[in-house]
Amino acid sequence: MSSLEKVSRRQSLLSHVFLWAACLVALFPVSRIITISLRPGNRLLSSDMSLIPDDASLESYIKILTEKPFLQWLYNSLLITVTTSMIGVCLAATAAYAFSRFKFPGRKSGLLFLMTTQMIPGAMLLLPIYLVLTKMGLNNTYTGLVVAYSVTTLPFSIWILKGYFDTVPKSLEEAARIDGCTEFGAFYRILLPLSKPSLAIVFLFNFTQAWNEYLVASTILQDSRLRTWPLGLYELQGNFNSEWGLFAAGSVLISVPVILLFLYSSKYMISGLTLGGVKG
C-alpha cells in the first residue's frame, strides 16, 4: 500500500468510492449548517432536506450582523485570544530554550511535570482558579479568563517549542557566542529568527485553543457585554425555536476564516505535534 506501488484500476476505483463516502460524512454537518443559514425567517424547523432551499435568502446573515452584538463578541474573542497567545509564546519560548540547550538540576523532572499537567482534567484546575478569582474579585473580567487560558496552553507550547529547538543545530549559537554575542543575544538573534515558523505554529495553536473555548469562558464571564463568540452562539442555539438560523449564519461567518487559516497551517501543525511527541 505504499505510494510506490502501481495502483491497479480496481484498487483505484475502490479507493475513490471509499474516500468519496468518507468525504460525504465529513461534509455532512457543514452542508446542513449552510442550508439552515440560507433559510428565510421562520421556516427554521422544517424537515425540508434539500441542500439549497428554494427560497434561499441572506436574511439570517443580515439579522445577526445588525440585531445581535455579533461584532462585539468577535472583538472580545479576538482581544482575549491575542493576549493569551502573546503571553504564551513569549514565556514558552524562553523556557523551551532553557530546556533545549542547557543541563540543569530539575530539567528532567520539569519536563516530566509539564507532561503530567496534560493529564490534569481542565475542570479540576478550573474550580480552584475560579474560587481564587472570585475571592480576588477578578471573576467576570478578561484578566481572569486570560489567566485561566494560559494555564492550559503554556506547558504544551513549551513542549512543542522544545522539540523544534532541539532540531536547530547548536553550532550556530556557539559561533555567535564566539563572535561575542551574549547568551540572550544568541537566543534572540540566532535561534528565534531561525524558528519563526515554529513560533507561528505555537501562536496559532494557542490562538485556536483560546478562540474556540467555551466552557471556561462560560464559567468566568457572566456579563453579557463581555461575551466571547462561543458564548453568544451557544445562547442563540439554546433558543432552538427562534434563532437556529442566526446560529447557523454566525457559524458560517466564523468558520470560514478559521477553516482557511487551519488548512493553511495544518501541515506545520502536524509536524510540530508529531515532532514534539517523537523527539520530546
Binding site: 505510494s3 506501488e5 511535570f113 503530567t116 474550580l127 474556540n212 466552557l215
Partner: protein, 409 residues
C-alpha cells in the same frame, strides 16, 4: 446596529500585560541580583534583614496575619540560603530563562492542585462560600467528601462506579475508532491516485471547524423530529423493507436500527455523543498516521516485494512497526484528550431536554462543581479522577517503554 464598546477592554488588557511584564522583570532582576551577590560576605546578613523587613511590612502595613507574613518572609531567606550553599553561581542562564514560565506554571498548576487537596478535606459549598470569602476559614470534614464520592449511588448523583465504567467504555470506543479509521484513511490517501490533495483537505474539515459549532450542529441533527439523522434512518429502513401482505417489514428495525429520541434516551444520547466525538477525532489520527506513513522509506517495500511478500505481510511487518513510534505517543495523547473531553459531552448533554445518564467522569465533575456548586465534593472527585488517569497513563507508558528519558522519548 448594537453599539460596540472597545476602550475599557483594551485598557484592562493593557493593565494585565503591564502587570505580567513587571512581574517577569522583577523575577529576573531578583534572580540576577542573587547571582551577582551570593559570594559577598554581607549576602546572608543582608538577605536576613530584607526578609525580616518584608515579613514586618506584610504584617504591619498590609495587614497579613502573623503566620503567612513570617512564611513569606522566610521564603526570601530560604532563597538566599539556596543560592549560597546549593546553586553557588551555577546555571545562571537556564534558570533566568526558565524562571518566568516555571513560576507561572507553578502558580497556576501547583497552587490549584494544593488548594484542591485542601478543599477536598473541608466543607465549601454555596452556603459557606460567603463566609470563606470574608473570613478565609472553612470547616474541616476529614474524609467525608471522598466517602461521598465513592458511595455506590445516592439520590443526588449517579453512582461513581457506573460513571467510571462508562468513561472507560467511552475512551476505548473512541480510541479504537479514531485509530482504525484514521489509519485506513491514511493508507488510502498515501497512494498515487487523483485528487488526493482535495480528499485530504475535505477530510480535515471536522478538525478545522470550531468544535463548538460542529458539536452544536450535530446536536441539531440529532433532534428527533427535525434532525437529519432520524430522517436518514427512516429512508434506509424504507429501502431495506419489503411488504408481507398489508404490513411492511423492515428487518433493520429488529436490530435496533430505527429513529431514536436521541436527546432524552440516555443510551441513545451516549451513542450520539460517541458518534460526534469519533467524527471530530478521526482527522487528527489520520494526519498523524499519514505523516508516519510518508516517512517510511520506499526501499523497504521494494525489498519486500522482491521477496514476494503479500500486501498484508508488507503492512504487518513493515508499516506497523515503522509507524509505531509516531502512533504510540499520539495514541497516549489521544487517550488523555478523550478521557478528559468535557467539552463535547457537556455541550451534547447540558442543554434543555438533555439527560444526565450519558455523563463521563469529567463532565460529571464539571456539573457537580459549576451547576450544583458542590465545591468540596467536586474537589475530592477531581482528585479521584486524576489518580485514575495517572495510574492509567503510567501503566501504558511503562508497557510501551517510553519512560527512559522523558526528554528523549
Amino acid at each position: 446596529m448594537t453599539s460596540l464598546s472597545l476602550l475599557p477592554a483594551v485598557l484592562e488588557i493593557l493593565r494585565l500585560l503591564l502587570f505580567v511584564a513587571i512581574a517577569v522583570a522583577g523575577l529576573v532582576a531578583f534572580l540576577w541580583a542573587n547571582y551577582k551577590a551570593w559570594k559577598s560576605e554581607y549576602y546572608l546578613g543582608g538577605a536576613f534583614l530584607l526578609s525580616a523587613a518584608l515579613g514586618a511590612e506584610l504584617n504591619l502595613v498590609f495587614g497579613f496575619a502573623l503566620t503567612p507574613a513570617v512564611l513569606l518572609g522566610s521564603v526570601l531567606f530560604i532563597c538566599a540560603l539556596v543560592f549560597r550553599y546549593m546553586i553557588r553561581g551555577r546555571w545562571m542562564v537556564p534558570f533566568l530563562f526558565a524562571a518566568p514560565a516555571t513560576v507561572g506554571v507553578a502558580l497556576l498548576f501547583l497552587y490549584p492542585l494544593v488548594f484542591e487537596i485542601y478543599l477536598s478535606f473541608h466543607r465549601l459549598n454555596l452556603e459557606t462560600l460567603g463566609d470563606w470569602i470574608r473570613t478565609g476559614s472553612i470547616e474541616f470534614t476529614g474524609l467525608e467528601n471522598f466517602i461521598q464520592v465513592l458511595q455506590v449511588g445516592s439520590e443526588t448523583k449517579e453512582s461513581f462506579w457506573l460513571v467510571t465504567a462508562r468513561t472507560f467504555a467511552w475512551t476505548g470506543i473512541n480510541l479504537v475508532f479514531h485509530v482504525f479509521f484514521g489509519l485506513v484513511l491514511a493508507l488510502f490517501l498515501n497512494q498515487k491516485i487523483r485528487w488526493v490533495g482535495a480528499y485530504r483537505t475535505i477530510l480535515m474539515l471536522p478538525w478545522a471547524i470550531p468544535q463548538l459549532i460542529a458539536v452544536l450542529a450535530w446536536r441539531g441533527e440529532f433532534h428527533s423530529a427535525y434532525g437529519y439523522v432520524n430522517h436518514l434512518i427512516q429512508i434506509v429502513n424504507e429501502v431495506f423493507s419489503f411488504g408481507v401482505g398489508d404490513a411492511r417489514v423492515a428487518p433493520l428495525e429488529w436490530i435496533g436500527f430505527k429513529p431514536q429520541e436521541w436527546w432524552t434516551n440516555p443510551q441513545a444520547l451516549f451513542a450520539s455523543i460517541c458518534i460526534v466525538n469519533i467524527w471530530l477525532g478521526i482527522p487528527f489520527m489520520m494526519m498523524v498516521s499519514l505523516s508516519g506513513l510518508q516517512s517510511i522509506s520506499k526501499s523497504y517495500y521494494e525489498a519486500a516485494s522482491l521477496d514476494g511478500a503479500t500486501a498484508w505481510q508488507r503492512f504487518r511487518h513493515i508499516t506497523v512497526p515503522l509507524i509505531k513510534p509516531v502512533m504510540v505517543p499520539s495514541m497516549i495523547l489521544g487517550m488523555i484528550w478523550t478521557f478528559n473531553n468535557v467539552n463535547v459531552v457537556y455541550l451534547m448533554t447540558a442543554q434543555r431536554g438533555g439527560s444526565e445518564g450519558a455523563d463521563i467522569l469529567v463532565s460529571d465533575l464539571y456539573k457537580q462543581a459549576f451547576v450544583y456548586n458542590r465545591y468540596s465534593f467536586s474537589a475530592a472527585y477531581a482528585i479521584v479522577i486524576f489518580s485514575i488517569l495517572l495510574v492509567l497513563t503510567v501503566v501504558w507508558m511503562r508497557s510501551s517503554r517510553m519512560t527512559e528519558d522523558p526528554g528523549r522519548g
